[in-house]
Symmetry: C2
Subunit: 578 residues, 2 copies
């Protein structure tokens, strides 16, 4: 508790009462209480909201420069969605690449990022590759600072990184080269790579070394500003009520997106979302607080998208896992018309967007639900690769049947059983016939090793990620491994048994919110920095827009802009209290 | 000028200087200047921003109750996008229906509106048809007040309405019945129906009768609030600088959407938009001012969508006209792969969404541009139905060629000529072959009168709107009219000559912004009304969400919620100045 000063409880009570009164007036919550000094219950130089990758990096960045830092975390546990993730951070031109002599020139990397993030704006012959100044500056800031931020965290003993060689997520279009060296992961003590828990563990150890206080179960409920409009602290809410936390230099928002606020999802997202991997506390707090502070919003239509097992999401919209890549080879996804609509092995962010296709004739989302259809071979040979159950395990979300016709009935029964929550969804009357024809077509293609419909397995991403996703490919079954030229496709045995798992669109988290500049300062509606307010992570408008550059495309920018936010906050002057 | 008090020029100058200084401080613009009385240059009970359907209805609603009203209009001319429109207003259970004995029960109408606006949420067996309380209340408020608002405007001699019988825009799904009586239009002196200019003309006459001052070329640049946070006026900008307008009771925002702010379109809309019919002043002013006032935003992903002629939009993104329905029968739309992707006769709002389909393999929008392909028959027989040129007229956006192969080259040349602005867009190498196969397939279907691909012409909307859209069907050509069972389809003569027009997605206007309640009060981030602030029209989160209920689905809610906003503003108490 070194870096915060307690305030007598009686005085805090007064403040809370006063704040409540102000709330009733209907306005004063949004206005700066400019006229008198506040009854701060705690005080620090920098207050950080959120304790995922962005928040921890911001806290360490500020603390390493001698600042008193306090971290506010709404959830009971530290780590946010990062702790649920696989922990990768996508870092162009990173130190491990450079040590290995692999070049990742600035122009190449930026061009790649622009192409992925802004496919409709991308121009081959433009000095900014087609995007505006602000979009370019953020991506440039990422290239310029990402590697340095990781090296800084490493040099302060907060993080140790290793790498795996797997291709980026847009690996095959003519303007890009398939890079495999930008993925970093936290390195465990045993030398292997760890996941998000390991990443949080390492960063948190350093927080503890700095004696940075983390207030869990505390939610930021109001941004405090002085008469000049500078941000000087936060009102936070906990089970004990409201209290005030002073941030003499700056507040850094590094909280989550709005995956778990159904109203915001409805009003900002392009199609039906059923939940996501984000922790349940990701309810768009910084969208609301940002508006209250006059911040411009951006990328509200964006998200790190993922397919979810529908029935897991119905149990709890904050799902344990997403479907990175549907496992197996004798497996396809079809819609309610029994038709494939996507290359099943493409990355989750891009693949999920097909769920939002809209049919203007029926006024419906025909791909809202997709059915992952697979046979006994895939069920056994790829068992244990999520969402396929482990051998011998039963999962209620797996729908089994003897053949295509009975599978149709079984899926429809399952849909009917959820009608209250998902609406009346009816498989096409010709579903069984269409699925039969679809399987025949897929099987013909599989025999040749070429998926003529969606080119599944043609690209490095498809096959290399297929191999790591299916790393649990079993040798304890009688099914032979797929040793063909295209390991991602194999004929489906339509005589059965057959299985289906219902998939729906979701997110890792949304990634829209207040807009930042290249220094991670939050901007107002006129494009001016709001003094004393910084942002990073899923709570702000992502510099990646709707693109997903590669594995760790989420946490890479979170760490980098979190680090920059902590740096900027450190350089802020102390602000007047009134 | 009865209802505004002029202030000596010297005093106004002082204010302007002072306001500019406050801007420099970086915050004071967002904060209430609570401590001293403002130097108002004009004063009224109610200030209305915008002079389209919503603004004029709000002004008349307030003025008819004895309030002094002042209207602020950013453009040089009164009327906004309404004046460019066809002037219809979609009014359920309207007085003309009722006089004709046609029933439009509340439950039926609300169920229809919910089904159109929230296709993924709709539930057959839910008392609110599947939507939340807020969504339901707004739609219910629309049903309850729309007819009355029109009748009130008629009874104050501000408007005279007539009707045309054409089906609503979701005419064929099982839960709906094809209504044809909800479309009202302004009735001209000659008894015929008029367009948006006529609607604006009638309402404006009444404004003049009320001696309501309209300040054209004045843009609202700041919302003024008192120490209690109540809205008490506006800072407005004109060529003369800034000045302050007092609104003792309330301010009504009834301005446009953000069609012409490319940054907002990029950050909030689901795919590439190239412009729209909205007047050029529709640049999202109320999104920014709403944020500054602490308003919650909603439906930012929404728009009244329309297809545009790409090359008209490249000349000026505020296009003169949209493509309501591609005219002709020997006509199809294809993408760069030479394939049809939509029922060409479906309504513009739904049809346009296919432009946003995203291909996760190529990381592109394959339908970003669609090519309207037609033959000599359609060129002549349907000449003059936009975008087909009038007989003898030449339009540079029409690409002509002798046959399919040369058409491919001509389209590619045209695309190349715009590469700087649209990027390098390459027709598929197999475009000519694919288009040939597509035309053959379409022609086979046309011979049977049944479009097996997209059911074009199967639904009342398709055929009835086809007949009115093509009302200029000519008798002065040698081409025989289409007298088959399906007048919307006819074989395309692929031997040529052939023509192409490039279409792209656009809007009539966006329809997201600050959220309102059933009384048209603007809500803050906690769902509480912001005292003294009302909203209606395209600047607010539309109660119709992404749905388009029927012709006039735009102006109907604009008039209704504009009227309600004027009513609510009238009932507000006068507010303290400080």
């Amino acid at each position: 508790m070194r870096n915060s000063g307690d305030v007598p409880r009686s005085r805090r009570r007064f403040l809370v009462g006063s704040a409540a009164l102000m709330g009733v007036a209907g306005f004063a919550r949004e206005a700066p209480s400019a006229t008198r000094s506040r009854a701060w219950s705690k005080s620090a130089d920098v207050a950080v909201v959120g304790s995922g990758a962005a928040g921890l990096a911001a806290a360490l960045s500020a603390a390493s420069r001698g600042n008193q830092v306090i971290v506010i975390e709404k959830a009971p546990a530290i780590g946010g969605t990062t702790a649920k993730s696989d922990g990768a951070y996508w870092i162009p031109n990173n130190h491990i690449m450079r040590q290995a002599g692999i070049a990742d020139p600035k122009d190449d990397a930026i061009r790649y990022m622009v192409r992925v993030s802004y496919p409709a704006l991308y121009r081959d012959d433009d000095p900014r590759w087609g995007v505006g100044e602000r979009e370019y500056e953020l991506i440039e800031a990422y290239y310029d600072n990402a590697a340095g931020a990781i090296e800084a965290l490493e040099s302060m003993d907060a993080l140790r990184s290793t790498t795996v060689a797997l291709p980026d997520y847009l690996d095959h279009v003519p303007t890009n080269k398939p890079m495999r060296q930008r993925i970093l992961l936290p390195k465990r003590a045993d030398g292997n790579y760890g996941n998000g828990r390991e990443l949080v563990r390492q960063l948190r150890l350093k927080l503890e070394a700095h004696r940075i206080e983390v207030l869990t179960k505390h939610a930021a409920s109001r941004v405090e500003r002085n008469a000049r409009g500078e941000v000087i602290g936060l009102t936070v809410k906990s089970a004990d009520g409201e209290s005030l936390i002073q941030a003499k230099k700056a507040v850094v928002f590094a909280s989550g997106g709005f995956t778990h606020d159904p109203d915001m999802v409805l009003n900002f997202q392009p199609g039906p979302n059923w939940g996501g991997c984000a922790v349940p506390t990701n309810q768009g707090d910084f969208v609301r607080l940002g508006i209250e502070t006059g911040a411009m919003l951006g990328n509200m239509v964006g998200a790190w998208r993922a397919e979810l097992v529908l029935e897991s999401a119905l149990e709890s919209p904050s799902v344990a896992r997403d479907v990175w890549q549907p496992p197996g080879d004798s497996m396809i996804l079809v819609n309610k018309y029994g038709q494939r609509v996507v290359n099943e092995k493409r990355n989750y962010n891009e693949r999920t967007r097909v769920h939002f296709e809209y049919d203007p004739v029926e006024s419906e989302f025909p791909n809202m639900l997709l059915f992952m259809i697979y046979d006994q071979r895939t069920a056994e040979l790829f068992a244990g690769n999520f969402p396929l159950p482990e051998p011998g395990d039963r999962q209620s979300y797996v729908i089994g049947a003897r053949g295509i016709s009975s599978l149709r009935s079984a899926i429809q029964d399952r849909l009917n059983s959820h009608a209250k929550r998902i609406g009346k969804i009816t498989l096409s009357p010709d579903f069984a016939g269409a699925l039969t024809r679809q399987v025949d077509r897929f099987n013909q293609d599989a025999a040749r090793g070429v998926d003529l419909q969606f080119m599944r397995g043609k690209y490095p991403y498809d096959t290399e990620w297929h191999s790591i996703i299916n790393s649990k490919e079993r040798t304890d079954t009688t099914w032979p491994a797929n040793r063909t030229s295209n390991p991602t496709v194999h004929a489906i045995d339509k005589d059965g048994p057959l299985y289906a798992i219902i998939l729906a669109a979701g997110t890792l988290d949304t990634n829209g919110g207040p807009v930042i500049n290249a220094k991670a300062q939050v901007l107002d509606t006129h494009g001016r920095p709001i003094p004393g307010l910084y942002g990073a992570g899923n709570c702000i408008a992502s510099p990646a827009a709707q693109g997903y550059w590669g594995a760790g495309g989420t946490i890479g920018p979170a760490l980098t802009f979190g680090y920059l936010a902590g740096l900027g906050a450190s350089g802020e002057p102390a602000k007047e209290d009134t």
